[in-house]
């Protein structure tokens, strides 16, 4: 079998490329954050079904997100952003609106250092306090937090508007999955549905997949030593069922289905939102021409990806691998030549 010219980069149907004959259509998630209510039912359902261990019950102090990140013990992570925001015509401030956010820049800066005993490594690493303060200050900093409790100023001048962004993050099941490419044991594999799954009886915890993932999804479980992540409920979808998170989602923010169909549905949803006056709605990870060949799990976002903790332009690291091996080959030749010259040249 000749490898596809796009086997490392570019648009591709991953399951046939991985050797599956008569593969079923590629399955995936479309997570529409415009209807996410941040209830975290997806996180709970995932833990229940997949028997994922606890990931800490402490409060992180940065927002209503106390999970922090995708880890080996959190295969769905609901990001929660609260920011003050200038009042626009679209969402006028009501009388009862709070005058400041639940998180001030100062408290966000301190919260950047908080963690949770997730039982994983690196789990939820601490962040940069300055960046966290800027984040909590919002798209436009509106001044110091008020000294009064929220909504207590009594005048329209003292009120501020704010926004809530919620997004249920998950493994992207990339078309070109760096974790799978670099796995030295074959523990990570491509399923017939085009998803990426770790075989727990093979993984020896080398940890190479963890820094390879451009999204920071996969993580190592402490004590256990192996790498774990979302399987897109391989056991459920194999039996024709919907993955646990999508099944539990009360607002259909998480939609599961054939990727082709989801992409059409997502394009229609973006068009609808633009029509209704939400120009900031945009898709993320839907494009087969992006740096990872398109995600099996893609998103509708209401701001730039990095606001949600997603990389703005992820590229699969193995895109450059042929060039890397070439460079290493040249370096090896130079090294051999230097050794030969050291012994041949000179007199002593």
């Amino acid at each position: 079998m000749t490898p596809d010219p796009n086997s490392l980069y570019g648009p591709l149907d991953p399951a046939p490329e991985a050797g599956w004959s008569q593969a079923p259509p590629r399955m995936g998630f479309f997570t529409d954050t415009s209807v996410c209510i941040g209830c975290k039912a997806c996180e709970v359902a995932c833990k229940e079904w997949n028997d994922v261990p606890t990931s800490g019950l402490d409060l992180l102090g940065m927002s209503y997100d106390n999970t922090g990140a995708l880890t080996a013990n959190s295969w769905r992570h609901v990001a929660f952003v609260e920011q003050p925001r200038p009042a626009g015509h679209r969402t006028p401030p009501f009388a009862g609106n709070p005058t400041d956010g639940s998180v001030s820049p100062a408290s966000a800066a301190v919260a950047a250092g908080t963690g949770n005993p997730t039982g994983t490594d690196p789990g939820v690493p601490p962040g940069d306090p300055d960046a966290a303060a800027r984040m909590a200050a919002g798209p436009e900093f509106l001044g110091m937090p008020g000294s009064q409790p929220p909504g207590r100023t009594g005048t329209a001048d003292g009120r501020s508007d704010f926004r809530w962004l919620m997004m249920s993050d998950v493994c992207k099941h990339c078309t070109h999955a760096a974790c799978l490419d670099v796995c030295p044991t074959g523990a990570l594999f491509r399923t017939e549905f085009g998803t990426v799954v770790v075989q727990e009886d093979i993984c020896n915890g080398c940890g190479y997949c963890i820094p390879a993932c451009p999204y920071g999804v996969i993580d190592q479980r402490k004590g256990d030593g192996r790498a774990w992540k979302c399987t897109l409920c391989y056991d459920r979808i194999g039996a024709g069922k919907t993955p646990a998170c999508a099944q539990a989602c009360p607002t259909e923010s998480i939609q599961y289905g054939p990727l082709e169909e989801l992409r059409e549905r997502a394009a229609a949803r973006v068009a609808t939102l633009h029509e209704r006056g939400v120009p900031e709605a945009r898709l993320y990870g839907h494009d087969p021409d992006d740096g990872v060949g398109g995600d099996g799990a893609f998103f509708l976002l209401l701001d730039e990806p990095e606001v949600y903790g997603l990389p703005p332009d992820p590229v699969v690291t193995t895109r450059d691998l042929p060039k890397m091996w070439k460079r290493a080959g040249l370096a090896a030749l130079a090294m051999a030549a230097a050794a030969v010259a050291a012994f041949v040249g000179g007199s002593s």
Partner: protein, 364 residues
């Protein structure tokens, strides 16, 4: 999870820190106050790159830093040392310099043994180390490295064992061994040396083939840096072990290794822009500067101390220490670049800015 603490303790600690517990950004303040402190916090370091503004999710890193512990940084050194010293041994073998041959072979075996131990120790499931041998995957530098190690290790081992031949008695079965071992050792020594350049340089690809920004973007230079560092450390062994009349090649090897390493590293740092910052600042910056000074001093000492045994030994030790510092420096620079979302977001944003805006239109 925190049942040993009184209820609300964690919140009280948090509140105390917000109320001005001397945290970098502890005081109430907006962007102005924050960025002023930002300059102060990194005081002492001169940054050529201006501080970049970027958006993040509460300052948390986007990618996960490697979970590799110090064993992997140590392996980067011992693997390179094994490669460098086996080249030294093969050269000594072919040009009739027994001291170089002996020291090189023994060091290669010790270093490759330590490498294997470090690599297995760092696994989450050490007892499953042999799962590495299930597949051979060119897309996985670690898999390729496993097979390179599997070829190099036994060859280096046999070559080193052959050095025991003179210790065996002349007669009997052991005597036969004493006669058979040297030719076997010669073949094995050459086989090890043939694999050595691959062993030394693949680790550059191992680090670069990740999403860690300062490693990935450094992929053109990293293999050269590790190759040079390996040569310098191998030369260090020769300088320590060989008498002055045999150490000539080790001196030249030190010069070549130092030139490759320092040349590639400085090109890397001048090319990478913002992503060079982790190589210059903090602990990795200190380690890399120390590595450069030690390597340079070791090379100068090696070239100057042709007749002084003491100076040769000191120079050899400096070369080894320089290589060690360089490996730990490169390793920790990668960790630092993964831990700060700035290094992930800013270069990707710049990349998007350079690209014609076709994707944005397609999404509309």
């Amino acid at each position: 999870m925190t049942s040993d603490q009184p209820v609300g303790d964690r919140f009280r600690q948090f509140r105390d820190r917000v109320d001005g517990g001397g945290q970098p950004s502890g005081g109430p303040g907006g962007e102005g106050a924050v960025s002023r402190r930002r300059g102060g916090r990194r005081g002492g370091e001169e940054l050529r790159v201006p501080e970049a503004e970027f958006v993040s999710y509460y300052g948390r890193p986007i990618i996960k830093p490697p979970v590799w512990k110090w064993d992997i940084a140590a392996y980067l050194f011992t693997g390179g040392l094994a490669a460098g010293s086996s080249l030294l041994a093969a050269g000594g073998q072919l040009t009739g310099r027994p001291a170089l041959r002996r020291a090189g072979r023994v060091t290669a075996l010790a270093a490759i043994g330590a490498s294997t131990a470090f690599l297995i120790r760092d696994l989450g499931r050490p007892e499953r180390f042999h799962h590495m041998l299930r597949v051979a995957k060119p897309t996985s530098p670690m898999s390729m490295g496993t097979w390179i190690l599997a070829a190099f290790g036994p060859a280096a081992g046999v070559a080193a064992v052959a050095e025991a031949a003179p210790l065996l008695p002349a007669g009997g079965l052991l005597g036969l061994g004493g006669r058979v071992l040297p030719p076997i050792g010669r073949v094995a020594g050459l086989a090890a040396a043939a694999t050595a350049p691959a062993l030394a340089t693949y680790t550059g690809v191992l680090l670069a083939d990740t999403a860690v920004p300062s490693w990935h973007e450094a992929y053109p230079e990293l293999p050269v840096v590790v190759a040079g560092s390996a040569l310098a450390s191998g030369a260090g062994v020769g300088l320590i072990a060989a008498p002055a009349e045999q150490a000539g090649p080790a001196r030249r090897m030190a010069l070549a290794g130092a030139a490759l390493e320092v040349g590639a590293a400085s090109r890397m740092e001048s090319r990478l822009g913002l992503l060079a910052e982790p190589y210059r600042t903090g602990r990795p910056g200190t380690l890399l500067r120390a590595g450069r000074v030690l390597t340079a001093a070791g090379t100068v000492g090696a070239l100057a101390g042709r007749r002084s045994r003491v100076l040769s030994v000191v120079s050899g030790a400096a070369l080894l220490a320089g290589s060690l510092a360089t490996r730990f420096g490169v390793f920790h620079a990668g960790l630092a670049s993964a831990r700060d979302p700035k290094y992930t977001v800013v270069p990707q944003r710049e990349r998007l800015g350079r690209r014609p805006k076709t994707t944005a239109v397609a999404a509309d």
